[in-house]
Amino acid sequence: MTDQRIKPVVMPKWGLAMEEGKVTGWLKRPGDRIAVGDEIVEVETDKIAGVVEASEAGVLRRAIGEVDTVYPVKALIGVVADADVPEAEIDAYVAGYVTPSADEAGEEEAGPTYEFVETPAGRLCYARRGEGAETIVLVHGFGGDLDNWLFNIDALADKATVYALDLPGHGQSAKAMPEGGVEGLARALLGFMDALSIECAHLVGHSMGGAVSTLAASAAPGRVRSLTLIGSAGLGEEINADYIAGFVSAASRRELKPVVEQLFADPSLVSRQLVEDLLRYKRLDGVSAALEALSGAFLAHGRQKTLVASSLAALDIPVLVVWGAEDRIIPAAHAEALNGRAKAEVIPGAGHMVQMEKASRVNELIGAHITA
């Protein structure tokens, strides 16, 4: 019988393909007090490096995971418990812990698989998690894909049914770009919701996906219950046009890595595999044309031309704006563009990929926003 006061810290599962991860450093020591959201231990997967954050409060009683050692997903790497739990009970808990194997864990535990749906914009790839009454649709940005939400999709699935899609031209979806740039993608998003009979959803958009989500809400106001705009495009003209141009043109690892590093406040998060996965996407037939068409449609002379702030003002739904303070793609100052119209939260220590770098804070904000 598990003592409810003893909480395991386990190797997380980040993304659909993760099977194991390496402990790279402890940020707390045994005996340290832990609050919810505290960063406890650094973990590196072949895709990305990240930090395991506390989901429950207590005292770090054991730091089991050894640095530079690889553990399977859900392996016990630490123990958090109240200070008054006897040492013997902790030892017994550690001794009795059995790592669930991927097979035993079942489909739900093993993580979502990629699914596909036919829509007017072509065959779109998506992942679905959770069974909540509310529905959330996660919309990635320019050049991104549904795995940009790898630290969010499972956490949000506790509160809602969560979909993350690959927009046309992105990820594993059809590569033909719909007419009309960002507006075309907004129509594709609504077409995706039609195809899966999603009547009404909370839209969470990152970067260009924020502009896509806002335009979708304007086009079909009754179908969007709330908007969360993360490092969103469309709230001002400034944008790092060199990043967009560099991302579109980079054909090799050496060209792409410094470009992608601009996405993060901590560039060391960009792993070899993350760059390799992006290159694999960029090499697919049709992707270059799609990215060129799309960047041409939303940028002019190095500035954003698809501006959605006025559309937002006309919408009668709750809007939350989230930004990484160190965003080097779209300035965090744009968070104030909707002053008074939206709740704005600028998170320190994070760059453009704030939903990855400060995942638990962003998940908490989205969770509170959709239940408000």
Partner: protein, 339 residues
């Protein structure tokens, strides 16, 4: 979407997608349509190991069974390429290049240069390379350095199914003659491969493992041996970076030099014979361009300077092993340095 398929399937898929995309793409070779034991038209054999199986029915008239005369059909493929087709000629074993070397060395490789850039020769010659197949000395050689030596030819040797598909698509779209080397012992090797078409640019090596202590450069089958060695070395706390060259001509010097400038140590693993090989080429270039970064002499792990033995015992010793690679690394990266 990506799913796991073998390198053989990946090559078949690349041919299929390019034949669908471009009617100028044709496939030529021995036994690719008919062949001994094949019902022929109804279910073509698809070449000696079945790599082109299924394509004949999809693209009638565009897979050409050739006589057992390499000099004739390699010449015909090169001529067709000079006249606007994009032929992919299957040479079965790269060892057979001996009988059609003039067509490749003196003709295909020279057209663009001798005709002042006005002629192009978009031919791909696919052939099996490498030992370990119990096929004896005339069907087992790793002759990649021979073709890398010739200006005007591009030389490709993938190590896995993902690269094989993307590199073959690039080879077919490329306007220069490409010698596409397929290691026969990798045909069954599986990897995640997207269903869609994609092209991997030539001259871009893959860093298949990152490490700070030593750079291991290889291509083809021995990339896997290098990775196996790197796993073992990691247990001794020596972090090896493994670079898969993917294409030998053009070659990605930048990635190799950048890595050696970080690690200071180089081991080149090449299944070819040791003299005038990819191993000597890479070692010499690194010594010349990054001498100051080197903390130890570059090491070469290659096949011996002998024909490939027919004895299975000797043949298994012939291809560079993970043991030999580990030993070469240990020689220049002693455990003490890892402390």
């Amino acid at each position: 979407m990506a799913r796991k398929i073998s390198m053989k399937q990946a090559i078949n898929e690349a041919l299929d997608l390019e034949m669908r995309r471009d009617p100028a793409v044709i496939v030529m070779g021995e036994d690719i349509v008919g062949g001994a034991g094949s019902p022929g038209e109804e279910d073509a054999w698809g070449g000696v190991l079945g790599v082109t199986k299924g394509l004949h029915a999809k693209y009638p008239g565009r897979l050409l069974d050739t006589p057992l005369s390499e000099s004739a059909y390699i010449g015909a493929a090169i001529g067709a390429a000079a006249c606007g087709m994009r032929p992919v000629a299957e040479l079965m074993f790269l060892d057979f290049m001996g009988v059609c070397f003039d067509q490749i060395l003196n003709q295909a490789a020279k057209f663009k240069y001798m005709f002042g850039g006005k002629a192009k020769t978009p031919v791909v010659i696919r052939a099996m390379v490498g030992a370990g197949f119990r096929a004896a000395a005339q069907h087992s050689q790793m002759l990649t350095p021979v073709f890398t030596h010739v200006p005007g030819l591009k030389v490709v040797c993938p190590s896995n199914a993902y690269d094989a598909k993307g590199l073959l698509i690039q080879a077919i779209r490329d306007d220069d003659p490409v010698i596409f080397c397929e290691h026969k012992n990798l045909y069954g090797h599986e990897a995640d491969v997207p269903e869609e078409a994609y092209a991997i640019p030539f001259g871009e090596a893959a860093v298949v493992r990152e490490g700070k202590d030593v750079t291991i450069v290889s291509y083809g089958l021995t990339v896997h041996r290098a990775l196996e060695a790197a796993e073992r070395l990691a247990k001794e706390r020596i972090e090896a970076e493994v670079i898969d060259l993917r294409t030998l001509s053009p070659i990605d010097w930048d990635t190799v030099l950048e890595s050696v400038e970080t690690t200071g140590r180089l081991v080149v693993v090449d299944e070819a014979n040791p003299r005038c090989s990819i191993a000597t080429d890479v070692s010499a270039h690194v010594v010349q361009e990054a001498f100051g970064a080197l903390k130890a002499a570059p090491q070469m792990v290659t096949a011996p300077h002998t024909p490939v033995p027919f004895s299975p015992v000797l043949e298994d010793l012939y291809i560079p092993t993970a043991d030999a690679i580990t030993a070469a690394v240990s020689k220049i990266a002693p455990r003490a340095m890892a402390a």
